[in-house]
């Protein structure tokens, strides 16, 4: 078995990764100017009259939009300024979203230091932090308003189903590094927490349309404050977009249509109680080009087919947040969602119900406890197709998770030690304990330091435990003079799939420099064990009796956990405002990721999460300039170095947006993505049965109105 073949096998197995999380955009508790409402929520700082380390000069250093967006709940699960978080945090505000002109949610993460956003196929986008760019995003937990849209059965995150209207997002908190201790499993490399706006923050009619060649994205929202205590919003979006190009620029004639409609009610009878209820429906039809095998007089050949796929999603969420005093609050949340999705001739239906209670209690001036308990159940039904099978046809998973955390204020808010752990009981792994310790020290107004050690876990997905898949491809027999035979890889999930483990050491510093500049540095060392591998268990060549040539090569594999590795690196962000009308951000991120398979099995085993595609260096330079009150120009230059395996060339992207506001309620803009090249390759697809794709330059116009 050559190494090439092994690589191909492993990559084929990755194919299983596809498919997704259903829930389209869930929007729950949003927030308001200056005060955040976290997901399963703590009270906002506005209710918190206890002293905090936020100095007036620190507040003054924030712009108004930053005041509205800088409260980060994801690190500590309670509102705090990003500058006071003991973790690597980047906040994308509504202003950032609006000025990016982004057409899809996943593109917003291209501005975040240390994140890899790559288009793998027309329907698969991978968003990862600190390495592991691959066909799926399993190591990044994604939540919308506290509801996990990460799918634990098939893919991790399927970004094409994240249809939340971009104009309704308040902010997105991106945490690099393990979020396990507070956010549960599957946040081994990071957490993305999308927080949508409360209905009272989006009053009136708002519409946004982006139109270009093969591009249409329209968003519509109507919000109203019905009384002093009740607000509502109706919202929706629709998207049509031509798919990605082939490497040589030819089109696969693929496209995607997707739409979402939702309604949300916010009820706040008094300052101590708030409630949110929302319901959403989404649907998409899309063409997913795939490689298949055909047979002709010259033997087997591969060709591209363009089957039409679809998904349908339903999501409903309710939450009650009760904060009787500044020192205590409690949230109760329940959500249900269901999606149905076609994939390679199979059909999967998944439903998930989740009920949680979370709270925060400031027991003394020194100790503040966060705690929570969640019960969750999912059910998957899979109608088998030619390539994908769920062993029993259907499967139910159950979880009971809890966490407790003590934040110890050793010197007020200036020196805080946070100790905590999450516990998880489920029906497919032993008890999971994910502890962490973090310290934040505000050494001076000009310097804050933080550090943390955490242990986090990615639990095996249902596809790794209970699914089988067959992937056909063509295989050139080594030493045969180029003889090509069809090859079928038979992949079996099973008990060999264990929880992947990471122990992470992190440290960082933040230093405001003067009133208009700040430096944010994060360093990390991650040690990974029990990474999933694909082990070859058999190989045979069925043939026609009497024929010298085999008809096909059949390889059977079984999942195991024989890889381990480490990563170290850092992200440096310098942001500032050289002029009142000019904001700039420069960042450099570096990672050295090394994954290896247990040498005793190296000949027949391949890691399912290889380090091949990792880009060691990334540079970003983001600028926003207001030429006048009516005209603004934004740009993002993004350099990504060559992939570790050398197969993907380095590339530099330039995105630009020029906006003009002729009237207060109208904004017109021209947007260009990837302006430097006609198209570029972001991910090398060697074995998945999808054609390789290139991300083309896109130019479009945008109109935004508000009444």
């Amino acid at each position: 078995m050559t190494r090439t073949a092994m690589t191909r096998i492993a990559k084929l197995a990755l194919l299983l990764a596809t498919v997704a999380s259903p829930w389209s955009a869930a929007s729950a508790q949003g927030l308001a100017p200056d005060v955040a409402q976290p997901d399963v929520a703590q009270p906002d700082v506005a209710k918190d009259s206890e002293p905090s380390a936020t100095s007036r000069s620190e507040l003054l250093a924030l712009s108004l939009e930053e005041l509205l967006a800088s409260e980060v709940t994801s690190v500590a699960k309670k509102p705090q300024l990003a500058s006071q978080s003991a973790g690597s945090v980047y906040v994308i505000s509504q202003e950032d979203i609006s000025r990016s002109g982004a057409r899809q949610l996943s593109d917003l993460f291209r501005m975040v230091p240390g994140l890899d956003v790559v288009e793998v196929t027309p329907s698969i986008t991978s968003v990862t932090a600190r390495g592991f760019a691959s066909s799926y995003s399993v190591s990044m937990l994604v939540m919308i308003d506290g509801a996990a849209i990460y799918s634990s059965s098939m893919a991790g995150m399927f970004w094409d189903q994240a249809l939340v209207p971009l104009q309704d997002i308040e902010r997105i908190e991106v945490i690099r590094g393990p979020g396990g201790p507070l956010w549960g499993s599957n946040a081994t490399n990071g957490v993305i927490n999308i927080i949508t706006r409360q209905s009272v923050d989006t009053q009136g009619l708002r519409a946004n349309a982006k139109v270009g060649a093969g591009i249409l994205r329209a968003e519509l929202g109507y919000g109203r404050q019905l009384s002093d205590t009740l607000g509502m919003r109706l919202y929706g979006d629709y998207r049509y977009e031509r798919g990605l190009d082939g490497l040589d620029g030819h089109s696969f004639d693929d496209w995607r249509k997707a739409g979402l409609a939702g309604a949300r009610l916010d009820f706040a009878p008094d300052a101590a109680n708030s409630m949110v209820a929302l319901a959403e429906f989404s649907r998409s039809d899309f063409i997913d080009p795939a490689n298949v095998l055909g047979a002709g007089p010259g033997g087997a050949f591969a060709h591209v087919i363009t089957p039409q796929q679809h998904y349908t999603g339903y999501h409903a969420l309710g939450r009650w947040h009760h904060a009787p005093t500044a020192g205590f609050d409690l949230s109760v949340q329940a959500y249900y969602n269901r999606y149905e999705r076609s994939i390679w001739g199979s059909h999967i239906a998944r439903s998930l119900a989740d009920v949680s209670v979370e709270g925060r209690w400031r027991a003394t001036n020194v100790h503040e406890f966060n705690f929570g308990l969640t019960a969750r159940q999912s059910h998957d039904d899979l109608t088998p197709g030619p390539m994908l099978t769920l062993f029993d046809g259907h499967h139910t998973d159950r979880w009971l998770t809890g966490y407790v955390q003590d934040e110890i204020r050793l010197q007020g808010d200036n020196l805080r030690l946070t100790l905590g752990s999450k516990f998880e009981i489920n029906n497919f792994t032993p008890l999971i304990v994910q502890p962490s310790a973090r310290v934040f020290w505000r050494a001076s107004p000009a310097l804050s330091l933080w550090s943390g050690i955490s242990h986090a876990v990615r639990t095996p997905q249902l596809r790794e435990r209970d699914m089988g898949a067959n992937f056909p491809s063509l295989y050139t027999i080594p030493g045969s003079g180029g003889m090509v035979v069809p090859m079928v890889l038979i992949f079996s999930g099973g008990a060999g799939a264990k929880s992947e483990q990471v122990t992470a050491l992190e440290a960082g510093l933040r230093a405001p420099v003067g009133r208009h500049w700040a430096i944010d540095l994060s360093l990390f060392y991650n040690h990974y064990t029990h990474l999933n591998t694909n082990d070859v268990t058999g190989m045979f060549m069925p043939g026609t009796p009497g024929s010298p040539n085999p008809m096909a090569m059949v390889i059977t594999t079984q999942i195991s956990d024989r890889a381990s590795g480490f990563a170290h690196g850092g992200e440096l962000l310098i942001k500032g405002q050289p002029l009142p009308a000019w904001k700039t951000e420069l960042s450099w991120s570096y990672i050295d990721l090394s994954i290896r398979v247990d040498p005793a099995y190296a000949a027949t085993t391949q890691s399912l999460l290889p380090d091949d595609a990792t880009a060691r260096h990334q540079l970003r330079w983001k600028n926003g300039i207001d030429l006048s009150d009516a005209v603004s120009v934004d740009s993002l230059v993004h350099y990504v170095s060559r992939s570790k395996d050398g197969l993907r060339a380095p590339y530099t992207n330039l995105d630009m947006r020029v906006a003009w506001r002729p009237w207060p309620n109208l904004e017109l803009a021209a947007v260009g993505n990837n302006l430097l090249k006609t198209r570029h390759l972001e991910y090398v697809q060697t074995m998945l049965p999808f054609p390789m794709v290139a991300v083309p330059r896109k130019i479009y116009v945008e109109a935004k109105v508000r009444f």
């Binding site: 409402q37 936020t54 009136g204 706040a268 020196l415 330091l449 550090s451 050491l505 060392y525 050295d592």
Partner: protein, 170 residues
């Protein structure tokens, strides 16, 4: 080896972070009114008065909860000038005030004169003619802007501020 060196460096950073040391300055509380005061200051910064002035005078009634936090912002830069916060015994004499914080006063009091900005509390404040209404909902604060009132009093509201408003009254 490189990894080992790297983690050793990191450990020293962690140790530094863990080390206790005296604070160099006492923090100021980020109380609700502290945050609200900075919000008001920022809102004022995004408005252009018909006449450029070296001092932009913000008046409010003595005894308002927010008074100490607003007074602390006196002297902060606003456009080409500085913010000057003045506490009044009563709101009867509002001449000379560029910005009026009216608290929960009746909206009728909130009609801005020429070159004036009025800021008040409640969803109806902006609806009934005040320039900026601070709206509490579920214990959180956001703001509504009456673009018509601002235009009538000759005050230009920046597009950035309008984008951030929860509501625009036209």
């Amino acid at each position: 080896m490189r990894a080992l060196n790297f983690s050793a460096r990191r450990m020293s950073v962690m140790a530094a972070a863990l080390a206790l040391s005296p604070l160099t300055s006492a923090p100021v509380a980020a109380s609700p009114s502290g945050v609200k005061a900075v919000m008001i200051y920022n809102i004022v910064r995004f408005m252009t008065l018909p006449e450029a002035k070296p001092k932009v005078r913000l008046c409010l009634r003595r005894g308002e909860d927010i008074a100490p936090d607003l007074v602390a912002l006196s002297g902060e830069p606003v456009r080409a000038g500085q913010l000057e916060v003045v506490q009044l015994g009563a709101l009867a004499d509002m001449r000379g005030c560029d910005v009026l914080y009216l608290g929960t006063s009746a909206a009728a009091a909130g009609m801005p004169g020429h070159g004036q900005v009025t800021i008040g509390e409640g969803a109806r404040f902006a609806e009934e003619g005040g320039t900026v209404g601070l709206v509490n909902f579920g214990g959180q604060v956001r703001f509504a802007i009456n673009a018509r009132s601002a235009a009538r009093s000759g005050v230009k509201v920046s597009s950035q501020l309008l984008r951030l408003a929860a509501r625009i009254v036209n």
